[in-house]
Symmetry: D2
Subunit: 367 residues, 4 copies
């Protein structure tokens, strides 16, 4: 077990940063779902390195080839496999990474876990590049969900202490969630976005990097997705979102703020909006008892600052058993948060679609 | 899928608040592990309702009967099953819950998911009472981990804005983690604890409830537990911790604070402490690339305020399709955070032990 | 992993022959299914030891207590847990089994696998008694399937070379499958049954035991259950049927006879029977490409003779490292085949119901 | 769930006969295992169509490209992905298969399961071609097992009623198991093999096909692999072997013959061979209570005759709702048994290696 999600659908991710390829197999997709490959490519492009100051100039085509699972562009019931070739790999010597682990990276833990056999080039299987196959799987789920009226969207909620406008947890619409999908810098408030970009540029110029916050929303959910205890929507979502390497925290609805709230504040009162039961507030983030309640599902993920910074850092030489200094060369994103936005959407889409399929399996009889 | 954790060990939790019993089956425990039932009982007593002002006076014996899995008090390789009888159930009429869902509870979502067939008495399978079997499984894992030098502990990090002393993420010891295991009110700083209890009493007197924060630490971990992407320690831990009904957020190490940090701050520099590689800070919470790095694993969980409050609340009548008022009778914990502390330990212990067993399976050859 | 089936439903079996109890947790049952406990008891009685010459006189009440999962006799969406108390346990000394393993039993393999910690009393978790919880889970699935028009039945196909009439693989009806459910000795041809019983009595009088063959049929199946490759109906069914300790072979449709057939014989020609596509023969046993084709699903399981025989047998003393003789005392079924018939039905019912739930999850769009 | 095996290792198979590619992802392989790609190619060549009269002349290169999981030819801990390009696809019109299903094929069941969206070209995901990725995964497991002294081998046990010499279930050696790995026609008795080939040629000339029997053996197994009930070696093995499309029966040790045996015959007496406990006979096929006992593991699989025969057959037109005749064009193996031999080895190797890794996870303490 490691890079496999095994539920109603199975998502098996493979690849290393500098291996011949990376990709994904998605098993269990229903037959008959048209997959728009242009739309999928557009989604992948959102996580691709861009021209902005915040991203690395390595140009990844990231054009997946669908090896199987489609017939005439429609899912055929067979597992869908997609592969992205690693073309822009550099042949430089990475063996140093076996000796002097980069702070904040998996170099050290991988070295000990895999006994020195891990593929260190470009971070190997731990590279952020592995979120591309996650986005393939998630992008496909997003398309299928959209046809069922379920919309998944996300935006940068904050970078370096500069905050974007938050989604309205009660009234956020599908249109709101789609706002950032076309933006080069995915914020709701472009003025705040300008400040964030300036902060990123500032950090870069100081050979440093910035972390941030991503907020994700899902609308159009039926009541009843998710299961008690181990398979609640929070559990499912968290498991998927933590698959994005830099995420260090996940919170739903009011999240950590509940720690300072009273029940009378936090409880979301029910009311009828026409024939539909809604809640006047949405501190629950659309989830009660692990199960969707029909309100927008809203959560946030904390993304750590890129650990690859150009400053000289303290590390150790594992071969010599002594403390040493490390200087990381090459160019790295001073802030991966913008590129992580579609990754969070992808993780959410997989979690939601899997829960939807599971729910169809265990349909109860009407009373 | 719902109340099952299926990894190297399988934990299957069952029961409803007012059914004949609740319990758990743990499959996959290695043979030859002595289980100290008195110690297990002492652990369970930590989550039992006490005499404090913060907890409900229902006296749950919570004495599990081990139906199988032990021979002469030692695991025998067969699945371990434990059951707790529900003796103190009240025969009052709960049918109102099918009609007027309690805000903040699963009444509404369960009603729609299960088509009205759910067991509403006492919250049914969604009751906090179901954390007792989680604690049985976790308490057993804790004992086995302790014999391997791995200690799991937790404390109330905050209630109603009053904060306890935090664990030192770098130097926290097993002794520190055990400090709260004997306390009636599990905080490190008893003076802060007094204030928290006063705040709880205050909330209770105002027919209200309080949420809080729980911090958990694990020491003695080898380097190398956890796997990339979907089965990192964050993913595993989050999936287990969100099994506790009231948890709305989970963060590791610096957690959400990383969103405002720079890489130069957040990166934990490596150094040699004798023959051991350590990090000078521990913003990573002991996890790099999803894999333990030998530093203390530290995380926090946000617990929402008890939704059952005595105030009149707004809700709906599902049968009549109109808005209505709801007044919840009976006595409820005005703050479940103290009792949730051992539950978080249990969740963490299961996640860690499962990762440990998985790691033994996939031992790499030494280079 | 061991005694857990983890699919759309999860079945977790626990217990040892002489532990306080045995039982099962079934997670994932849809809410709203009435479970007739009398009918379940009647089903369990079919595997209980009877008065016939072929079965041991130990009187097992085998009356399961449903601890959870039902509300007013109807599934409520929570995991269903059932336990059977082991009342008729004998306190005799079983420690000999750790030293001198019984041929044909798991004594030797359990001793080495579990390092001597296994529960040897009465065979521990390897006892045939553990098929009782399998029958609880299967009996519940049978009831739900019956309401969907799907019938599962089985009969003794042969014992000691004496054959029963086989099901007509093309025209077998639900009524045919139910014929043996009321019989004390579950054969279609009672005359053959008499001969089988005489053969069993003969074997018993010679301190020996007999094996046999069980044939199982399922009617009323929709087209489309099962999945390609790893989750075909054969794979699913075989995994469940081999859970019955004495089964050493499973074959579907023409089974091993296909090895000597030609394609022109084995292929089942399609034809229209009214609006329904059927096959004129049914060598496929109702399964093509792992997927049900709407014809009766038919398979057979080979059951080995009871290994516990009263004759002196050759074995070893593990403590002394020498060959030795073993004489097994106590009374044992000279033939477990009759009691294994409902177990095979139970295994089949679980496999079919799980496939049915999975299929509902992955419903394709109509073309 | 469908084409995924999810245990200590996860094997996810993808592809359709005429899609761009077929392949497999194997997740969970320990790091540090050298994979000999030439040896893997040689293994795959054994299932490739040959020059014999029994096989189709389509020349599949079947040269897998390893996309990930290796670094310098050694497993690196990341998932191993391999893909085989489908180059020799023919662009002929397969749409007829949606209308007139071939008897004995999955055309009909796939049509109804997938609502007409399935990829019919060349059988799509149901093609025997999908056993190539199974052989990649199995070939890798075989290499790793061989380094641990565990040998997997198989041979044609019979075709069209002509039998090969059987393995000696007690004394079969690794050398015996390797005998057929170099043979073009994998039998032990070449004279019998000549007769089988003649029978195949005869069947072909009569526009017909033949089924057969494959026997597989595994030597060098430690005592203790496999688990009780649902995860016994029989369950695990059967689940993998039934992944080979044409298999309709699996039996272990004496198999179906146990149905006519007495306990005194079938029980395998223990004895000491030096310091090792062995059994004088091996009717158990090396498995007691689902767990390996150290004797050779022996099983047989029944393979149905190729359903694609050139004779005119009865079928139906689904579009017109009438009975019709079908004549299958193209060349097809008149007997797939020879090519299925390495597939059975592959299935067995995956099952054994997965059980070995699981066993390492759950190591008991010594008494």
């Amino acid at each position: 077990m490691s890079s496999v999600f095994h539920g109603a659908i199975t998502v098996s991710i493979f690849g290393q940063s500098h291996a011949p390829g990376i990709g994904v197999v998605v098993d269990g997709l229903p037959a008959g779902e048209k997959i728009d490959l242009d739309e999928l490519q557009a989604f992948l492009t959102r996580r691709a390195p861009g021209t902005g100051s915040w991203s690395t100039p390595r140009k990844e085509a990231d054009a997946p080839e669908i090896l199987s699972g489609l017939a005439d562009g429609v899912t055929c019931g067979a597992p869908l496999a997609a592969v992205i070739r690693n073309t822009n790999t550099r042949s430089k010597d990475y063996s140093n990474l076996r000796d002097i682990p980069r702070p904040g990276h998996a170099d050290f833990t991988a070295q000990l876990k895999y006994g020195g056999w891990q593929d260190v080039a470009g971070g190997g299987h731990f590279s952020g590049r592995l979120t591309a196959p996650l986005c393939i799987a998630g992008g496909i789920c997003k398309q299928i969900l959209a046809r069922r009226g379920i919309t998944v969207g996300a935006h940068i909620a904050g970078i370096g202490g500069i905050l974007d406008t938050a989604y309205d947890p009660v009234n956020v619409t599908a249109e709101d969630l789609l706002l950032t999908s076309k933006k080069r810098f995915p914020v709701l408030d472009d003025a705040a976005g300008e400040k964030m970009q300036a902060a990123i540029e500032q950090a870069r110029s100081e050979l440093d990097s910035l972390g941030g916050l991503i907020e994700c929303g899902v609308t159009g959910l039926p009541v009843g997705l998710g299961d008690p205890m181990l398979d609640g929507m929070e559990n499912r979502m968290a498991r998927l979102v933590f698959a994005i390497p830099a995420v260090k925290g996940v919170e739903f609805g009011a999240g950590f703020a509940v720690a300072e709230m009273r029940g009378s504040e936090n409880n979301d009162p029910f009311y009828y909006d026409g024939d539909t039961v809604k809640t006047r507030t949405n501190h629950a983030g659309g989830i009660l008892g692990g199960i969707t309640n029909g309100m927008p599902l809203v959560f946030r993920a904390a993304v750590k600052p890129t650990p690859s910074i150009a400053r000289v850092q303290d590390s150790v030489s594992l071969s010599q058993g002594v403390d040493t200094k490390l200087e990381i060369h090459g160019r790295h994103d001073p802030c991966i948060v913008p590129r992580a936005v579609p990754c969070v959407e992808a993780a959410a889409a997989i979690a939601v679609y899997d829960a939807l399929l599971s729910q169809q399996a265990i349909q109860q009889k009407e009373k």
